[in-house]
Symmetry: none
Subunit: 189 residues, 4 copies
């Protein structure tokens, strides 16, 4: 009964992510959102009660994707696991950047948004711990240069994600290449 939906919740969140990455959190406007959807601006309110909830839901979904992919990684070999982790983060484009917006969301406006953010925060902590454990193992197993402080190693590793892929190399290979640079350096062997 009733009409058929102009767009699905999933389409809405897809577009949300797109607009968010293109215009940043402060530049996120419902006008831009609806522009990329097959329906009017006010229709958005069928799904979410306000702007904040939309953004929070979008972030939550991205986080869930990442958690899902990460949980599928075999971490028996820690170096291999790191390589795969890097790939996952790269595939889940701009996961990193999106998370940076999380703290800007005004929780006071919406309980639902606050709840989603809580989830994201929790997951974030979990991911970090998992990652740190991998790095510690890598160090203990003698794969890393012990003269470099671990936080620096981790920071550089993470930052690889945002390296601009000028040559448009497919993500799996691009990820492998960056991993090699990170581990072996850019200098002559």
């Amino acid at each position: 009964m009733g009409r058929k939906q102009a767009f699905t919740k999933s389409e809405l969140l897809d577009q949300t992510k797109k607009v968010l990455l293109e215009h940043g959190y402060e530049g996120f406007q419902l006008k831009l959102l609806s522009r990329g959807l097959a329906g009017a601006r006010s229709t958005i309110y069928q799904y979410y009660a306000n702007k904040e909830e939309i953004v929070a839901a979008c972030m939550k979904r991205v986080m869930e994707n990442v958690l899902h992919k990460v949980s599928a990684i075999d971490d028996s070999d820690c170096m291999n696991a790191l390589q795969q982790l890097l790939t996952v983060y790269m595939e889940e484009a701009n996961f990193h950047q999106l998370l940076g917006y999380a703290h800007k969301i005004n929780k006071a406006n919406s309980a639902a948004a606050a709840h989603d953010l809580e989830f994201i925060e929790q997951a974030h902590v979990t991911l970090k711990q998992q990652l740190e454990r991998l790095f510690v193992r890598a160090q203990e197993e003698g794969h890393l240069n012990t003269s470099i402080p671990l936080p620096a190693i981790i920071g550089v590793f993470f930052n690889l994600i945002d390296t601009p892929n000028m040559m448009n190399i497919p993500i799996p290979q691009w990820s492998k290449l960056l991993y090699q640079i990170w581990l072996g350096g850019a200098g002559r062997l």
Copy 2:
């Protein structure tokens, strides 16, 4: 003689940079700008005709600083020059990030802004060429691993700039450390 000067152009641009980095381009508001300035919001229009011009002027100034510092680098030893370049970019905090906002500025609104952006664009190209020349030299002189495509090496190098400095190591040392990781890798030698 009139009234006393409320704030100088330079103070205005300092504050512009601060607000820009804190709130992003889309979150840049004149209210935030004047809040950190010793004068009224409307006084800003004594210096610039609109928002776009302010941001463009700010970026231009940052670019000029970078150009100035870069031009002082001795590039007889290309590897040393690269190391120094990295330091300069890091010192000129968030130069990279600011430049990312450049393409968001609406040039249609102001000829002055368009002019400044033109300058920035030009300088950007120049810097890139200079950098590339250094990298080519580095490769020719056998400092780099030839099995890695140069664009990837450059991309990673540049991305180092944004690596979060969790341990708050002073910039010159932090720069040196990142340079080492980049060149030698994070793995065991």
Copy 3:
């Protein structure tokens, strides 16, 4: 036979009255209306073409009730008739208040609403005349203090209806009590 009846016209008007008294005319919203009804908001339009018609119909029904009850009053004894009138108006809770909203309804929007309002207006006039005749008779029969202008006496009498019943005395007794105060005053005899 189609679908089952979601709610009757009468239920709709009951709920209309409730919402109207709770939120006032300007606060009357279809969302609040359907919330207390066993059916969807859009179903309301099966009965009435727009908001104005609903409110007008509600008022008309209340007025009809009052007319009905009033016509049953035996007015051979005018003082007794007045007492009974007061009771009727009080039973027909907030009749008075509802009528106050009548002039706010935008007739331009709906012929049906305009028609109902016409009826209400007419009935209102009739009731007033009837009442006035009763008061005139009461005065002529010497029941009222002739040193007080009749309009003042009538005004006070009518206003009794809205006296807050803090002690929750049952309406018939409450009505009788107010009638006594009105007639005999609050002062020592």
Copy 4:
């Protein structure tokens, strides 16, 4: 310095009261407010941060007026004091009605509004106590009919305020007339 104000805070509150009485709380719109002012709608925000604050401030001012006038009443003779109280409430037109809107204001939206409402609430309690004391004294001094419950007497007294003044009798006389009806009744002596 700067331009001269389009309207004063006081004018704003005057108009607020007018619109509030004409359209009720739910019908109170900034458009209606600015329509009666010599300035644009957005100018209102120079004085108050939102709708709620405006309404709360308006009510507070009315309450302050009432408190001021009430405090000037000589209550050595309680019956005389009651008569004067009635006049005050009538002069401060629709004070009663306005107060009825107080509980509809959404305090969550504004600390300033909540603060004003706190004041109003407090003053309301004080006024009520003062009034009750007067009535108790009146009863003890034997001015009132002891066979009528005091709350009913008080309720009727208060309700007099809203009696429609059809003949447009000047307020002091109108008040006196109502007081007489209340005390002595409308019936033949």
